[in-house]
């Protein structure tokens, strides 16, 4: 039964979503669903910790005929991150969306969509089959699309439409690539494909399509245009999911593809090219974040920048670098970044949501005097900023430190410069709202109870904690990695 815990991490959120379609769940049941999925995620993580990585054949059919789920350190860590962020998001959404006398459009639609996003993320993180990943990502995209269009504004609808076009382009490109691989190798299973000989025109075209499609879905520069309006236009709890968790799913698939399926395929030029796009995202996203006058837009542009770091994994750990001592550090740095950014960014969006709610508007000036009026939220925003800037002792620091050491050990100083510059730029865009929290004269129109303020604060504290007790998560992430990783964190 414990071995089936990962499967129930998909089943239970789905069941909760179906139930909420029929009728919005009362608060105690929402709480129960959250607790059950949290427990199941905990059991999954414990199982990986004790037994190591393992596969679950769905339907009892072995690959290539059937689909296999893969539970290893990376999927376990992302499952756990998803569970923590989703718990915070659902708790933060209760006041806005739950328990009305009369069912409303938003109050009804949010709950099934949120539980579906949770199920879709877990499905994507557990999948070991390229076509099943396509189905899971489509599922995720459609659910997030509906969340983007939840606000009744023309901008939100336009943002959703733009997101739909980018995401569908990404899905199609990915699917084309998967079809080509299946036609050549007769299997969709990641483990079986990793044993196949991936070479020649077919594999290169397939890999290019898969990478382009997933990069568009991860909002890598220059495919980022859909992200800021979509993430800034959604209700704050939805933004927290969209910005913190959702882009991590296509990125996770990219890692699976480049490090498990085709580690030998990419040439040095391709790796450097992807790294350059990541660097461009860091600089461009940060500069635009500095210029924003709307608080949620600023946080959304910060996501564009922070997602850029993830792609430094390719020049630092991919290709020939995979056999080098620094590769493990770079790989873990990027995956560590995925986790800590998820926690910090969700905290930041939830905090921003409270600020906007209290002030009644979305301009950066809503932060004025926040240390006086809402100290807990101001502190949450500050703590999350520490991780975003990559200052010690946060999870973001550990991630960037690992990437930085890998850049130095491999002699690729240019990436080290980008990482450092990115940290300085991040300080530039978070100090603007942060410094305002010390101003006088906050105009607070709505009082926000402490219970609600505690939610983003807890998430931000977790992101920080990840940097303080980093060795256990570091070791956990390595579980099931094909190449042993002892180097990196001393």
């Amino acid at each position: 039964m414990i071995a089936m815990a990962p499967v129930f991490c998909i089943i239970v959120p789905l069941a909760a979503a179906f139930a909420s379609v029929v009728r919005p769940l009362p608060r105690p049941l929402v709480g129960l669903a959250i607790l059950v999925v949290l427990g199941l995620t905990g059991m999954t993580v414990a199982e990986v910790w004790q037994q190591g990585a393992h596969r679950i054949p769905v339907g009892g059919w072995q690959a290539p005929l059937g689909i296999a789920l893969v539970v290893d350190g990376l999927s376990g860590a992302l499952l756990a991150t998803t569970a923590l962020v989703m718990t915070a998001v659902l708790l933060a959404a209760l006041p806005e969306f739950a328990d009305r006398d009369r069912e409303t459009r938003k109050g009804w639609a949010f709950w099934p969509l949120a539980f579906l996003v949770w199920a879709a993320l877990n499905a994507a993180f557990l999948s070991g089959d390229l076509f099943n990943i396509y189905v899971s990502l489509e599922f995720l995209t459609l659910a997030t699309l509906a969340l983007v269009s939840l606000e009744e504004t023309a901008e939100a609808l336009e943002a959703a439409m733009r997101y739909a076009l980018f995401a569908l382009f990404g899905s199609l490109a990915y699917l084309l690539g998967v079809v080509l691989l299946y036609a050549a190798h007769g299997t969709l299973d990641i483990a079986l494909l990793s044993q196949a000989d991936l070479q020649g025109t077919n594999s290169i075209v397939a890999a290019a399509l898969i990478t382009t499609g997933l990069a568009a879905k991860t909002a890598l520069f220059p495919f980022h245009a859909w992200l800021p309006p979509a993430h800034a236009g959604a209700p704050a709890p939805a933004s927290a999911m969209l910005s913190g968790l959702v882009p991590k799913a296509p990125f996770f698939v990219l890692i699976r593809f480049w490090f498990d399926v085709a580690p030998d395929l990419p040439g040095e030029a391709a790796l450097q090219f992807i790294g350059t796009l990541g660097a461009a995202a860091i600089v461009y996203g940060s500069v635009l974040a500095m210029r924003q006058t709307q608080l949620k837009r600023l946080v959304a542009y910060s996501t564009v920048a922070q997602l850029g770091y993830l792609f430094l994994i390719f020049p630092l750990a991919g290709g020939d670098g995979l056999s080098q001592v620094w590769s493990a550090g770079a790989w873990t740095g990027a995956t560590f970044h995925a986790v800590s950014h998820a926690l910090a960014k969700a905290a930041m969006f939830l905090a921003a949501g409270l600020v906007v709610h209290a002030a009644g508007h979305d301009r950066v000036s809503a932060m004025n005097g926040l240390t006086q009026s809402m100290p807990m939220t101001a502190f949450a925003f500050g703590l999350a900023s520490v991780t975003i800037m990559g200052l010690p002792p946060s999870g973001g620091f550990v991630a960037k430190y690992l990437l930085l050491t890998a850049a130095f050990s491999s002699g690729q100083f240019i990436w080290a410069a980008v990482i450092v510059a990115g940290g300085v730029l991040a300080a530039g865009y978070v100090f603007r709202p942060l410094s305002r929290t010390f101003f006088h004269g906050h105009v607070q129109t709505v009082a926000v109870p402490r219970r609600q303020q505690a939610v983003p604060l807890t998430l931000a504290a977790l992101a920080l904690l990840l940097g303080i007790v980093s060795s256990a998560p570091y070791a956990f992430l390595q579980t099931g990695r094909p190449i042993a990783a002892e180097e990196g964190l001393e």
Partner: protein
């Protein structure tokens, strides 16, 4: 020789119609060409012997998507939205070059494939006896790769939640779409009385026969949805309010039954395991639930978000 002339003609038609859909001067003509394109594709699938895919393409690719697109275009007309000016030449040339480059790369990739590759067909054939059904496509969709189908059935539900979530808040709790009127002695009303019994029979038959022959919940469900839509468009039966409990249960019945079977297996030690001796009844149960939900969901997608009421 005749066959290859037919093939060449069909391919030329498919490409020609696709180009007409993309380059069409007006939205409406593009939609029409898109529907024709789906029908030609369906002919191509039939010609390749992939009858299940042909059915699905005709029913969903051409039929349902076509109806949705026509509805969207006529709604734009009704709202008085002007068609956007054609994109500037630079943008058109760039996208043509990008699409051409992609096609070129695909041709190269396809060229390097083994023309005699069989994929997993032999493995499916070898395990068919344990699947509970005789149609290999159904065996893949509802047993070997049932997990994909489970998620796909949820995707349909997500689409409906998405459509409803952009409703006007004032009409929440009302009926989907606009009230339909048809002349009681008109063609639509006559068809509305004549066709539904036949449609029901064909729809249910296609769902039922899917275990052994081409057919199944998606194709049959689409026909059942068409029956409901015909009744609604003929003004003979109005859709219930979207908050009605029974309607919502119908929408989740299919994915719900599917998930229950999956969960029962997981408790017994194997996620989505269908024991061979029970596989056929379990698959039929899932297909029946799915057909109901697919029919309801597709019809509700066409009717759109609530636009009147609540009373």
């Amino acid at each position: 020789m005749i066959e290859s002339v037919f093939d060449i003609l069909l391919c030329a038609l498919i490409v020609g119609v696709a180009l007409a859909a993309v380059l069409g001067p007006r939205l409406f003509s593009s939609v029409v060409f898109f529907i024709v394109y789906g029908l030609f594709l369906s002919v191509a699938w039939t010609h390749l012997g992939a009858f299940d895919v042909a059915l699905a393409e005709a029913a969903i690719g051409a039929g349902l998507t076509g109806v949705l697109l026509v509805a969207a275009v006529s709604r734009l007309d009704r709202l008085g939205v002007k068609e956007p000016a054609p994109a500037p030449p630079v943008a058109r040339v760039t996208s043509a070059l990008a699409a051409g480059g992609l096609s070129g790369a695909l041709v190269l990739a396809l060229w390097s494939l083994d023309p005699d590759g069989t994929g997993l067909a032999p493995v499916v054939e070898a395990n068919l006896h344990a699947s509970g059904v005789r149609n290999p496509v159904t065996a893949v969709l509802l047993n070997f790769r049932a997990y994909d189908t489970l998620i796909e059935s949820v995707v349909l539900l997500v689409a409906l939640v998405g459509v409803w979530s952009i409703a006007d808040e004032r009409h929440w709790g009302g009926e989907p779409g606009l009230r339909q009127h048809a002349r009681p002695d008109g063609v639509l009303a006559t068809f509305g009385r004549l066709l539904p019994p036949l449609g029901l029979l064909v729809g249910v038959y296609i769902v039922w026969t899917g275990t052994d022959d081409p057919g199944g919940a998606f194709q049959g469900g689409t026909i059942l949805a068409a029956v409901w839509l015909l009744l609604a468009m003929a003004g003979l039966s109005d859709a219930p309010a979207i908050t009605r409990r029974r309607l919502r249960l119908a929408v989740i019945a299919g994915p719900g039954v599917f998930l229950a079977v999956a969960a029962a297996g997981a408790v017994g030690g194997g996620f989505l395991v269908l024991p061979t001796e029970y596989a056929k009844p379990l698959i039929q149960e899932i297909e029946a639930g799915l057909a109901l939900s697919i029919a309801a969901t597709l019809a509700l997608l066409v009717l759109g978000p609530p636009q009147r009421g609540p009373r």
